[in-house]
């Protein structure tokens, strides 16, 4: 959801299917997307390709860019375990706002979808911008 929203905010036509599916080629409509996705997948799979992917990413985005990419892969490895381990539901506005994408991208097939079956769909408070995505 934040990928789509930030892409729109920055004038990008983001391809969510390429972003989420490692069998698809391409940059997903994001600058340096090929290098970023290769690095993320190599790290997540603890692949022997990681060092090469890191070098190619460094050429594209620099040392600090690599650091940020590594930090992002790392924290989302933690965030998914917190979310799935505690069985949280999608926030109401996210539940209603991403239904089409979840269905199209096969996310509804993930086991964690069961946690949000019957979850509240009415926004809990007034909000705008990013905050509205979690209202």
């Amino acid at each position: 959801m934040l990928l789509r929203a930030s892409g729109e905010k920055n004038g990008l036509d983001v391809d969510l299917e390429v972003a989420m599916d490692a069998t698809r080629d391409g940059d997903a409509g994001v600058p340096d997307g090929v290098e970023l996705l290769a690095f993320a997948s190599a790290a997540n799979h603890r692949s022997a390709e990681l060092a090469g992917a890191r070098d190619r990413l460094r050429l594209a985005v620099g040392d600090e860019g690599v650091l940020e990419a590594a930090a992002t892969v790392a924290i989302f490895n933690g965030l998914v375990r917190v979310a799935d381990g505690t069985g949280i539901q999608l926030d109401p506005s996210m539940l209603t706002g991403t239904a089409e994408d979840r269905d199209r991208l096969g996310i509804e097939q993930f086991a964690g979808a069961a946690n949000s079956a019957g979850a509240p769909t009415e926004a809990r408070h007034e909000a705008s911008g990013v905050s509205a995505l979690f209202a």
């Binding site: 930030s6 997540n44 060092a51 650091l67 790392a74 998914v80 505690t86 964690g112 909000a127």
Partner: protein, 224 residues
């Protein structure tokens, strides 16, 4: 004082989180938390975890993890399952673990495992090596259960009321574990008020960061 660089902020938060995993926590002591980190790391190559991962259902594989001097068998199960196959956890499985461990210890183990996963992945992604796990620090667990937690539809009680996103209060039942976790999230990703800025100016743009996040959550089959 000069504002700290992103690298310094991250290094500081990583050090704080690593220390928190070997010191006393909410209900577990330093030796127990340290053992949980070791077990979370072991889950990458553990034979039983690999067999479960490859099975059509993790429940199709017989056997379980044995307890040891630091962690009961149920605690070992929580750490290994959350570490190795988080996308296929279920409420019935969590309920069975909570029945044995209690909801607070269960939540603390989830938090330790998640923090360990983030720390170990950061070390691997930046250097290809593991972070060194320090010695356990003696001390008594805080043993504080917050008053403001309740049922918000998750498997464990969490902060009720307010306007916080569900993911941001996931570990609110275990404040000591949560503090280190939130500090790590802030340094590695959200950076305080920056979180609501979809056009931030960092080494990576917001869409670039979210692209990496989207690929990672998809590969771990996370619904949230």
């Amino acid at each position: 004082m000069e504002p700290r660089s992103p690298a310094e902020r991250i290094a500081g938060a990583v050090a704080v989180a690593a220390d928190s995993l070997v010191g006393p926590g909410d209900w577990l002591d330093g030796a127990q938390r340290r053992r949980a980190w070791v077990e979370a790391r072991d889950a990458r190559t553990n034979e039983l975890d690999n067999a479960r991962r490859q099975a059509i259902s993790p429940n199709a594989v017989a056997g379980g993890h044995e307890g040891n001097d630091e962690l009961a068998a149920a605690a070992m199960e929580v750490v290994h399952r959350v570490a190795s196959d988080p996308g296929r956890l279920s409420r019935s499985w969590a309920d069975s673990m909570i029945e044995v461990l209690g909801d607070a210890v269960y939540t603390e183990l989830v938090g330790i495992t998640a923090t360990a996963a983030a720390l170990d992945m950061f070390a691997w992604a930046t250097s290809g090596a593991d972070l060194e796990i320090g010695a356990a620090v003696a001390g008594k667990a805080a043993q504080v259960r917050p008053d403001d937690v309740g049922d918000i539809g998750a498997w464990v009680p969490q902060t009720i009321g307010g306007v916080r996103a569900n993911v941001s209060r996931s570990l609110s039942l275990v404040p000591a574990t949560n503090i280190a976790w939130i500090g790590l999230v802030d340094a590695l990703y959200s950076r305080g008020a920056d979180f609501v800025d979809l056009s931030w100016t960092r080494a990576l743009s917001r869409p670039q960061v979210e692209l990496v996040a989207a690929r990672t959550t998809a590969e771990l089959e996370c619904f949230y």
